[in-house]
Amino acid sequence: MVFAWKAAGLTYNRYLAVAARAVRRSLKEEKRLQAERRGEQELRFAKWQNGKMGELKNLGEANAAAYTQAAGGSAPAS
């Protein structure tokens, strides 16, 4: 059993995030605003190599890039 989203290079968490976003967006206006706040994140991250900190990057963008790469650059990530 191979899922379409797995074949497209998404992780399960990403799949959940996309599904959750779709549900949030289909809510009624006042509930939607409240719910969409739960989907926000503004994390930044840095990779370390040999005890040196790399560049700080936006996590959401980096993840999206990783998915497109995993999908062979064919499928858009989100």
Partner: protein, 295 residues
């Protein structure tokens, strides 16, 4: 810290009134300036305490919910009796702290715990969430760090954050025998304890004795593992956040109290010094007057 820094100055000021008059006026003004600055600090700490208090309720509610959530997620592994596999692969420790300080020793508590762990078993790599532990562990354990995150814990952690972090950790190139999430466990309003929760690797889940009872397809294990990692991270982040807020409330409460004590002390010192200056002046005037009368 405040009181420690100010104490030598207090002693210096207290001994000075014996000096000539010109200096006494200066110390009076000095004391006044000090008083004013301490009052300002008290105001700030008090405000921070109130802010933390209002946030605390929400954070605690989120923590309680996430605790149930995390426990439910872990129930699978408990009943499957999953255990970490013994192997020579590296262990991954995920440290959940945050970016902001001024909350007592909760960040350094985590750092100390990690240092102890790395001293016992150096075969680990670290993922750090939050600027504070990054600064602290970057000094001592820099070569073990593989990833660091910033910007978490500004508000109550969301599941979206946990998912994104989990994804980035899964994308790490190395294979780990075991993933452990280290966070501050909330015991009560004044005590926290660095605790760890394990997130198992696929092999560990597959090898657990009772796992066949669940009748899960082998292919789905990867999904379960990713999801469980996000769940545990969410739990750890929420609990850590609640601890931080509660610790900040306590720290600011103490700081306000200390500032209040200092204000009292300085007020008394100020009054005494003023009294002494006035008395000194009176003595001078009277002496002068008697001296000129005699002439």
């Amino acid at each position: 810290m405040l009181s420690r820094a100010a104490r030598p100055a207090l002693r210096a000021v207290a001994t000075r009134p014996a000096a000539p008059n010109a200096a006494t006026y200066a110390t009076l003004r000095e004391i006044e300036g000090r008083l004013k600055s301490i009052r300002n600090i008290e105001k700030i700490t008090n405000t921070m305490k109130i802010v933390a208090s209002t946030k605390l309720n929400r954070a605690q509610r989120a923590m309680q919910d996430s605790r149930v959530y995390g426990a439910t997620s872990n129930a699978v592994f408990e009943s499957a009796e999953t255990k970490a596999l013994e192997s020579d692969k590296k262990k991954l420790l995920i440290v959940c702290s945050s970016d902001k300080g001024l909350c007592g020793g909760i960040h350094s508590g985590l750092s100390r715990y990690i240092r102890r762990r790395t001293a016992e078993d150096p075969n680990v790599e670290l993922v750090l969430i939050g600027e504070k532990v990054r600064a602290q562990l970057g000094r001592t354990n820099a070569k073990d760090i593989v990833l660091s995150f910033a910007g978490a814990g500004k508000d109550i952690p969301t599941f979206a954050e946990a998912m994104n972090i989990a994804d980035q950790i899964i994308l790490l190139p190395n294979e780990y025998a075991d993933v452990e999430i280290v966070y501050n466990k909330f015991i009560n309003a004044t005590s926290y304890e660095p605790t760890s929760v394990e997130a198992f690797s696929e092999e560990a889940i597959a090898a657990s004795p009772n796992f066949s009872a669940f009748e899960v397809d082998e292919e789905l294990l990867g999904n379960l593992r990713e999801y469980a990692l996000a769940n545990s991270l969410y739990h750890a982040l929420s609990e850590g956040h609640a601890c931080e807020i509660s610790a900040r409330r306590n720290a600011m409460d103490n700081a306000s109290k200390n500032a209040g004590e200092m204000i009292n002390k300085y007020q008394i010192l100020f009054n005494r010094t003023r009294q002494a200056v006035i008395t000194g002046e009176l003595v001078e005037i009277i002496t002068g007057a008697t001296a000129s009368e005699d002439m």
